[in-house]
């Protein structure tokens, strides 16, 4: 059953060197607090999966935690490049980074297939694209009824799924609301899962079809107020778009990034 624990304990217990990990949240509810805790605990050789690596993976890559990155759109949204990711790909700094590149539709389908317990995702994708030339994961199947060739890629089933959500009740059931992305899929497909929440409440007070993850689908719940900042939590705080813009300068230079890392991650106390 679900264990409420500190984020420090949750990461120490469930995140191991070499794990494949998906920290998801499609722009909304990106689990930054959990990512920073992974950096603080100096996990290494992680294989990270995320549709949009975003600042959170720029930080994890820059901190040297990552050896492999699976993604489908690798920029700083509306701003520009992820400089730490580029430095790793282009210059092996701070270490070499292998990449597996997909489209959004492919990754969304692969998460769906993972949650559905299937070994593969089948979809009408990559038609005419040259991504299959550079990603050997992309295969195809033939429909036995129509003869149509459809794209097939392996389902995503990470060792650890990590998401941020609005709230949990005292039994450990979790409500996700707003842009829910692939978060349900990540928790249901992962071998182990960690959920950070803004708060714990007596009653989730939900409508009949709300996106609620039952307690028994989650391994650890940690309270992390503002745990998605500079991303946002609907109903709690807005996206800090200005932070995203400023990240461009901070991350462009190795020294300024390392200073940021020291003061904003390692310099922060336990959560």
């Amino acid at each position: 059953m679900t264990k409420f624990m500190t984020l420090k304990d949750a990461v120490a217990t469930y995140v191991k060197d070499g794990d494949s990990i998906a920290l998801e949240g499609f722009t909304h509810l990106i689990p930054f607090a959990a990512g920073h805790e992974i950096i603080r605990q100096k996990r290494r050789n992680l294989s990270l999966i995320r549709m949009t690596p975003d600042l959170i993976y720029d930080q994890l890559v820059g901190a040297g935690c990552v050896r492999k990155l699976t993604f489908s759109w690798g920029g700083n949204p509306g701003v520009g490049s992820l400089h730490r990711v580029r430095d790793a790909i282009e210059n092996d700094y701070p270490c070499a980074l292998e990449t597996v590149e997909h489209s959004h539709a492919a990754m969304a389908n692969a998460y769906e297939a993972g949650a559905a317990g299937l070994p593969l995702a089948v979809f009408r994708g990559y038609v005419g694209s040259e991504l299959p030339l550079v990603n050997k994961e992309i295969a195809s199947i033939i429909c036995p009824f129509t003869g149509e060739q459809l794209a097939a890629i392996p389902a995503i089933k990470p060792d650890v799924g990590i998401i941020h959500a609005q709230k949990a009740d005292r039994a450990g059931n979790v409500l996700i609301e707003g842009i829910i992305g692939v978060q349900k899929e990540v928790v249901l497909s992962a071998k182990r899962s960690i959920v950070t929440v803004e708060e714990i409440v007596d009653n989730l007070e939900v409508t009949p079809n709300a996106c609620v993850l039952p307690a028994w689908t989650i391994d650890a719940i940690a309270v992390a107020p503002e745990g998605a900042k500079p991303s946002y939590t609907l109903g709690y705080y807005d996206r800090d778009n200005n932070y995203y813009k400023q990240w461009d300068n901070i991350s462009r230079d190795r020294d300024s990034f390392n200073q940021w890392l020291e003061s904003h991650v390692f310099g922060q106390g336990d959560v």
Partner: protein, 277 residues
């Protein structure tokens, strides 16, 4: 962003956005890419197409943002939407399911067959090759990647593209086909009954281009006021052709300029409101 209060004057960027906005009509469902397409789509909604249905890949259905989103999943998109679905549902049911009339895309590179490259710039790299298989691993410029575009382009009924015109962007052959227009030979959609008909219009800051019905090569069908054929030739990386009945794009109206400038001002204000790191 410089704003202009004189609506008899407008920038080429404003001309592009407003022309792109006009391509959308009131009864369309539009899958909106971030950046220029999002700006154009919302100008359309705030002017001649109040009921245009805007859908973003973050899962927000029928959204009506007050300010432009910086990212594809800003809170504004969800709060102003009819409802928000999961991202797998968005790509499976709404896009692949055939409910999108228009996919509205931007790009980093586009070629004469409207193929789009947002993966790697590599043609000038010593290791680079045209088909991307070779140059991908060691690019000159690493771009963000495909995102939603590869499947938007094939699963939407048609595709609009808006992008600034320059020789660096408009190339004869893209270094890498992230997203198909009509393929390397213009025949990439032939005999594929289950995909959309592909790009129908490209709107730039200089002109409007459409695929030739037979060859699928992009040709200029309308020049923006003040733009010459030479301007377009100079900014295009292949021998660009012009339609026989070449039109002149209508100038932006006072209302369109006003709406666009107000939208950008609101957006600027909203995105700068938060504290520094």
């Amino acid at each position: 962003m410089t704003t202009h209060n004189d609506t008899t004057q407008y920038t080429s960027a404003e001309m592009m956005t407003i022309t792109a906005a006009r391509a959308l009509t009131n009864n369309m469902t539009c899958f909106v890419g971030i950046g220029l397409p999002s700006e154009a789509a919302n100008v359309a909604r705030l002017t001649h197409a109040p009921d245009v249905t805007l859908i973003y890949e973050s899962g927000t259905l029928q959204t009506k943002p007050e300010v432009l989103p910086l990212s594809i999943g800003d809170g504004e998109l969800c709060e102003s939407a009819l409802t928000t679905v999961s991202v797998p549902e968005m790509f499976r049911y709404w896009l692949q399911g055939g409910h999108i009339d228009v996919g509205f895309l931007g790009t980093a590179q586009i070629d004469r067959f409207a193929n789009l490259n947002t993966t790697v710039i590599a043609a000038n790299h010593p290791e680079g090759g045209k088909n991307g298989a070779h140059s991908y691993a060691n690019p000159r410029v690493r771009l963000p990647g495909g995102g939603g575009a590869p499947e938007i382009s094939t699963n939407a009924k048609e595709v609009f593209i808006t992008v600034k015109h320059s020789k660096r962007t408009f190339v004869k052959d893209v270094d890498f086909i992230t997203t198909i227009g009509f393929g390397r030979d213009g025949k990439g959609r032939d005999n594929l009954p289950n995909i959309g008909r592909g790009p129908s219009v490209v709107i730039t800051d200089l002109c409007i281009l459409k695929p030739d019905p037979a060859t699928k090569e992009l040709i200029v069908t309308s020049l923006h006021p003040g733009t010459t054929k030479e301007d377009v030739i100079e900014a295009t990386g292949w021998e660009i052709k012009f339609a026989d009945s070449l039109e002149t794009t209508p100038v932006p109206s006072e209302k369109e300029l006003h709406v666009l400038r107000e939208l950008k001002a609101r957006t600027e204000k909203a995105h700068s409101a938060q504290e520094a790191i």
